[in-house]
């Protein structure tokens, strides 16, 4: 092979590698409002309708492949579901007892109604694409800024929290799932006040870790894990409190902090329809400040506790 051909081949390789590294460095270093992110959003805007159409056209093929897999898994799922039903019955009994207690204080706080999902103006969206990458557990949805979807809005489905919006275009958005390595969710176990951070267990996409629980916490297998909705700046949570995330499957060994394994309720491999909670940021604190004003007659919630609370729910 001639020297010229070899030189040209190596030059092309070098050029492409350098170009990739420049792209990587620039993208990683810039803010989400930067130029490359804008290009990506513009591309997403153009591609979203095509993806949507392709998704609808290819749904029968997907369903066919899914049918084979689901049939193979059906037996083990049935056994697993039976166990879950037993566990849920026990949970239901415990929750009913807890609910009776809650109702007694519920008249004072009315927080039950303030947690209603409808208050967060959910936007229903269809999943039109999913990343195959182990490190990017993301899905694309067909609703974007035009429908009121904003960056960092929590995303749920009928089973619980599934992630947050990580990129928004006008008619589409990208959702980072709770199993994505870039997502961390402040969470607590059941009704306990101890909070930790839910993070993915890399290498096991169907498992999560609840980390940094205080050593005094006493988690039990089978307990429900929900979002804590922390409102202590600067550790505010993006997510409203009480959203179900999963169930404790294993409690880690004792150390300075406790870690527990959590199996997510939502089947993240098979998402079709999701809901984006579009008015979380600022919504809960406003309601809380309103509640404070109703508890203490004469106190001005807006000028008192209001500003502190109003700054929460974001971050």
């Amino acid at each position: 092979m001639s020297d010229k051909t070899v030189r040209r081949r190596r030059a092309v390789l070098l050029l492409l590698v350098v170009l990739s590294l420049i792209l990587l460095t620039a993208y990683f270093g810039e803010a989400s409002s930067g130029r490359l992110h804008s290009v990506q959003r513009a591309f997403l805007t153009v591609v979203s309708p095509i993806q949507d159409g392709a998704n609808k056209a290819l749904k029968p093929v997907r369903d066919l492949f899914g049918w084979f897999g689901e049939t193979a898994d059906a037996k083990s799922q049935r056994d697993q579901l039976r166990k879950q039903v037993d566990a849920l019955r026990r949970q239901l009994a415990a929750l009913q007892a807890e609910q009776r207690t809650d109702k007694q204080v519920g008249g004072l706080t009315q927080l039950d109604s303030s947690l209603s999902i409808l208050d967060y103006h959910p936007v229903t969206a269809t999943v039109v694409g999913k990343s195959p990458n182990l490190w990017y557990e993301t899905v694309d949805i067909d609703k974007g800024e035009a429908a009121g979807v904003r960056l960092n809005d929590p995303v749920i489905n009928g089973e619980g929290l599934i992630g947050k919006v990580s990129e928004v275009a006008s008619d589409g958005a990208e959702v980072s799932l709770i199993t994505d390595s870039a997502v961390g969710v402040s969470a607590r176990i059941g009704s306990s006040s101890s909070t930790g951070i839910i993070q993915p267990k890399v290498g096991d996409p169907s498992d999560l870790l609840l980390q940094y629980l205080p050593a005094s916490a006493q988690p039990n297998v089978g307990e429900e894990v929900v979002t804590s909705g922390t409102v202590d700046p600067p550790d505010d949570s993006l997510y409203p409190p009480g959203l179900p995330i999963g169930q404790v499957t294993k409690v880690g060994e004792e150390s300075a902090y406790k870690t527990v394994d959590v199996q997510p309720y939502a089947n993240l491999h098979n998402l079709d329809v999701v809901q984006v909670l579009t008015s979380v940021q600022g919504g809960l604190p406003e309601r809380l400040s309103h509640l404070v004003s109703t508890f203490v007659p004469g106190q001005n919630a807006v000028t008192g506790t209001g500003p502190q609370l109003a700054s929460t729910g974001v971050g």
Partner: protein, 190 residues
């Protein structure tokens, strides 16, 4: 200057890449096999390199990587970097060895998947992803390689069929000519 043949080949590769990425995102990623997702994009790049050579392999790897990163909102440049190397090295394999064994697509597919999965992990760790790592990660990578290797055989047939006729130098034709001219390979002439 691009002639008609190479222009046709570029068009075919571009169409193949777009279709493959959309099918990957819209269908294949939604159907996990043994708990992992089949990823046909590194297979596509590897097979383009294996059929078309290192330069076209590297260029198509960069382009497919960029398309994947743009479509999925991933960090731009990561997939391009990994796929460029996959396309280049599979092309070099063709230029240096011109493997004709029946298992070649399977082995090249497995190698491409391994490079992609390990490459992603290395780049993500270098970018500072704070994630606990366990043996599960290794298991996922091994399973991913196995599943992609299985998918490599039909993918090879599709890519070869799609590009047939537009290839710059069909390896079979070259081998036949080398045989009839007493073993003179075009590689040794150039």
């Amino acid at each position: 200057m691009m002639n008609g043949r190479s222009g046709l080949l570029t068009l075919r590769i571009s169409l193949l890449a777009v279709v493959a990425v959309f099918v990957q995102i819209g269908v294949i990623s939604e159907v996990p096999v043994f708990g992992v997702n089949v990823d046909i994009s590194p297979l596509l790049v590897a097979f383009v390199g294996l059929l078309c050579g290192s330069t076209l392999g590297a260029v198509s790897g960069f382009a497919v990587g960029l398309l994947v990163d743009l479509s999925l909102g991933q960090t731009l440049g990561v997939t391009s970097l990994i796929f460029t190397l996959i396309g280049y090295w599979s092309g070099r394999l063709r230029e240096m060895r011109d493997p004709q064994a029946a298992l070649t697509p399977l082995l090249v597919g497995a190698a491409a998947a391994a490079v992609a999965l390990i490459g992603y992990s290395l780049v993500e760790f270098m970018l500072g992803v704070d994630a606990p790592v366990s043996l599960d990660l290794l298991r996922q990578i091994v399973l991913g390689v196995v599943v992609d290797a299985i998918a490599a055989v039909p993918m090879w047939l599709i890519v070869r069929r799609a590009l047939r006729g537009g290839l710059p130098e069909d390896p079979r034709r070259r081998r036949r000519r080398a045989y009839t001219t007493g073993g003179l390979s075009p590689l040794s002439r150039s």
